[in-house]
């Protein structure tokens, strides 16, 4: 792997996104609109404070998953990926380049969405607000990594978009937002224990109710980071230099 090639790829992906103003708008605005809607629905109840932080982690993951899986699928279909793999560009450079670019976008998205939730919608958390941003960025990068992996199994854009409900909805149902994870039926609790979104949501819930959550959050983020690394490694196995 080569830092220069990784940085070149990140820069190129960010340049591509920059020419697409509507996508930038959607990445930034959609999480804010959804959070605002949620705060409005639960006006005068404590529910928004309880689930707001968790959703602050879920929305960036969903958005990044879709954007990444479609972007890499396009790259496979247009022949640019095959062409890149005839150059010294490594599979790892390619994967980390994408993760870096969308990670940078995720920082912008997370700062704005968190700021909007806290200062406009009045989200109150026991822990520090900056930690919400850190966890949201990890979640967004997780979405990118899972999107890179999913795009390896998609042959068409229709399939790529269908992978969103297939990969993400089960994680959403089992992550502890609908029912606390320890109250799930035993088998489903086991399943939720091996899904990355569960730990992302655990970290957010910890920040919501604990005034000093750093230790617990670091543990959860460690697990999320391991899932990111695993997904990127598996995703690079789906890239092959040769095809039939």
């Amino acid at each position: 792997m080569n830092a220069g090639l990784t940085a070149a790829t990140s820069g190129r992906v960010l340049r591509q996104v920059r020419t697409d103003h509507r996508t930038i708008g959607l990445i930034i605005v959609v999480p804010c609109v959804l959070l605002g809607l949620l705060a409005w629905i639960y006006t005068g109840t404590p529910v928004f404070d309880a689930i707001g932080p968790a959703l602050l982690g879920v929305f960036p993951m969903v958005v990044m998953f879709i954007v990444t899986s479609v972007a890499t699928l396009r790259e496979r279909q247009s022949g640019t990926l095959e062409r890149l793999l005839t150059t010294p560009m490594g599979k790892g450079d390619f994967m980390l380049g994408y993760a870096g670019a969308f990670g940078a976008l995720a920082v912008v998205q997370a700062v704005i969405a968190t700021g909007f939730a806290v200062w406009v919608c009045g989200l109150g958390v026991a822990g520090p607000v900056w930690l919400l941003v850190v966890v949201a960025v990890f979640d967004a990068v997780l979405g990118t990594a899972l999107g890179l992996l999913a795009s390896g199994f998609a042959r068409t854009e229709f399939q790529a978009v269908q992978f969103m409900p297939a990969f993400l909805l089960p994680q959403f149902l089992l992550c502890g937002l609908l029912i606390p994870r320890d109250q799930l039926p035993t088998v489903l609790e086991w399943v939720s224990n091996v899904l990355p979104l569960s730990y992302a949501v655990d970290a957010m819930k910890e920040i919501a109710r604990n005034a000093d959550p750093v230790t617990a959050v670091l543990g959860d983020l460690g697990i999320v980071a391991a899932f990111i690394a695993g997904a990127l490694a598996l995703a690079s196995l789906t890239l092959s230099r040769r095809s039939a």
Partner: protein, 253 residues
Amino acid sequence: MVNNSGPAVAVSGLQVVRGKRRVIPGLDLEIPAGQVVGLLGPSGSGKSTLMRCIVGVQIVESGTVTVLGHPAGSPTLRDRVGYVTQSPSVYADLSVRDNVTYFGRAIGLRGAELREAVDRTLAEVDLVSYADQLVQDLSGGQESRVSLAAALVGRPSLLVLDEPTVGLDPVLRRDLWDLFRHLADRGHSLVVSSHVMDEATRCDRLVLLREGRVLADATPAELLQQTGAVDADAAFLALIDAETARSGERSSS
């Protein structure tokens, strides 16, 4: 700069299956270094598949392909072989300059060297005045020139170009062939596929493919002499007719 000691490409006993078809049933070929070699043949004759084998992106059934002394696709070749696919493979949502710059970075160019290479390449493909346009706003011919530029920027020892002049006007076609000639004179090797026979005369050597087999491998002059034809088009037809007659005899006896 360029190693001239051996052939640019040596293919031996190559067999390729794509889908259910044996696209290349057994092919031997040597492509000399420092020449422009034209790969001609009707569509479906295996030109693109052979090129994919040379750049090492094709899964082969059996046989060997040696490029600049190394097995095709080996890591040492990745900054020495440039490949342009038949349909342009560049980023539609990037500017012309950003595309060429990115592919320049991918083969390791940096800083001033990269900027000079990009400027030189944009001039070579005549896209200087379009440098800051997005590729999606260009015409098809311009887009295929961006794709060509992305391979030229690294000045590879071996350039593999799949139909690089399709859809281009005569002036630009002539300029590009002049560029190919100039590169070959400086020791680069080029494999260029085409189905435009009048381009055949601009090649040092012609390889005629049909159904994954080499029908002829000669200089343009030798080819005309062998067949007694007046131009490459007629020579090609004469060879195909002769081949059809031979295989007809074989199957009837």
